[in-house]
Symmetry: C2
Subunit: 306 residues, 2 copies
């Protein structure tokens, strides 16, 4: 109360905090759903904030747990919303799944069963892997009767589970039987987000719900490659000459974005434009505290120009 005014709440992004943040980092890592857009709708002020940060010489990187699209497809989505973002600036959990297999020398003669959408299939194929499942198994129905026998491919050596709007009992059984019966079969989750802003108006079940179902049926925990796992950061650091202590992770989820930032040594900024509301952040039960929080990335523009 030095100036006679009450102190701002701890962590609230003020003009001073915004200037000090921008001075102390070289790169901003942005989550996408709930930060840049909701569904196909751009969040207000995003282009202005991106333009300002680029003008200040900051590197911008986009790190999303949403596995529905590949990096190429996300780059197109940015373009369709009027934003110029290259594939190299985008790190998706679908890409992370493919890179995890590559880094771990997944044998090329083995196949990958996918519970998920096109993004995962495209990244896996780009990385040279043969895939089964995905959207085309969305129409397969099970007839749970009498002596029905469920066939599966014994050359499946990994199951990748991500967000899947075509999720069904056929895929659940396919994933279960590969993980349980194919020796050494890997169980990889793109991420465990319980919900996400898949459309502009509403939240929807996230990849975490598909992962929970498969995990229950096999009584095993998956390897998680998306946020908050630090796996993606390794690629990011290989691609760019950056230090994590000079990065700021900007996201709308405490248990993925902010935790990812903290796990990897970044500064963290929570925006309230997505899944997390202020009461949740301030609730005594919340144990994940970002360095800073504000309503949306647009606030950076106003605060930095004060």
């Amino acid at each position: 109360m030095a100036n006679g005014l009450p102190d701002p709440p701890r962590g609230l992004l003020t003009a001073d905090a915004a200037r000090s943040l921008v001075d102390s980092v070289d790169a901003f890592l942005f989550d996408c759903d709930g930060v840049i857009w909701k569904g196909d709708k751009l969040i207000e002020g995003v282009p202005e904030a991106m333009e300002l940060l680029r003008k200040l010489g900051k590197k911008l990187v986009f790190v999303t747990n949403n596995s529905r699209k590949s990096r190429r497809q996300y780059s197109k989505k940015f373009k369709s919303l009027g934003l110029e973002v290259t594939e190299e600036e985008i790190f998706t959990s679908s890409f992370a799944a493919a890179m995890f297999l590559k880094l771990n020398h997944f044998p090329p003669e083995k196949k990958v069963y996918v519970v998920g959408e096109d993004g995962i299939l495209e990244e896996l194929k780009l990385a040279g892997f043969e895939c089964l499942g995905g959207p085309e198994d969305g129409n397969k129905n099970i007839k749970l009767e009498a002596d029905f026998y469920f066939e599966h491919d014994i050359s499946v050596g990994a199951v990748v589970v991500g967000l899947d709007q075509y999720f069904n009992y056929y895929k659940m059984q396919y994933a279960r039987i590969c993980i349980s019966e194919n020796p050494g079969c890997l169980f990889i989750a793109t991420n465990r987000d319980p919900t996400g802003h898949m459309t502009s108006a509403q939240e929807w079940p996230g990849a975490g719900t598909m992962v929970a179902a498969v995990s229950c049926s096999v009584q095993k925990e998956p390897i998680v490659v998306g946020k908050p796992s630090s796996f993606l950061m390794d690629f990011l650091l290989k691609s760019f000459n950056l230090e994590t202590s000079r990065m700021c992770m900007v996201g709308d989820r405490l248990d993925t974005d902010i935790l990812f930032g903290q796990n990897t040594g970044c500064k963290t900024l929570l925006v309230l434009s997505g899944c997390t509301a202020l009461p949740e952040l301030l609730d005594a039960s919340n144990k994940i505290h970002p360095d800073l929080y504000t309503n949306s990335v647009y606030d950076l523009v106003g605060l930095l120009q004060k």
Copy 2:
């Protein structure tokens, strides 16, 4: 080693143990999947064992977590397999869900959304409740695009989740939105079995997988009405003049059947004809120990006639 022979393993059903068990109980509670049948195939020796126990004056009761059928439908299934079992002798998790709502004075003007199959719908309707969902929502597809808005019925006051071979993203979102947004909406699980012998040759994802998915999306735990919850036992005790200390629960799952028997004060007999194999029972990590175990209910016949 009084007779010069090595002692049998602790808990193994011997002729002495079988006679002492039969003398000490008035009723046998049988799980069905993996004990009486696998899929639509009767397990060997079941008719003989049932006949013998009935001849010895024992009450037989069937307690199943499988919610796919109603009590009426199960009675028909027993008949089709050549076994005479009345509806009153059958306690299913679908019936338990309906009785839970009735006992808790669920308002008749409210509706129940069902993630599950016909058995749940039939029991709920018999108990006088109006239902939505079930198999007819199995064909509904989601188009996760742009400004799509998902409508739901705000008069849904309970969501019941059971085994559902028609599980899909539409039902996941319907359940999520009712539980999250309709004030006071109950979240009821028929059971949490991770797998079950839904066909004779293979295991399949159980109701626990659907429950895990919905539970993840709402970040809440359900009320469980099937085994191992003791809820079903209350009805059983009301229906029959029995004491739990003079009952034996016979089942193939440690974490549902045997735990249910133990939670309610019954004697417990594990059969190895279903989900549990001997190494799992004897593994140091297993914390649930039945009083007795044997290969299948057929063993009772041989052992009691020795």
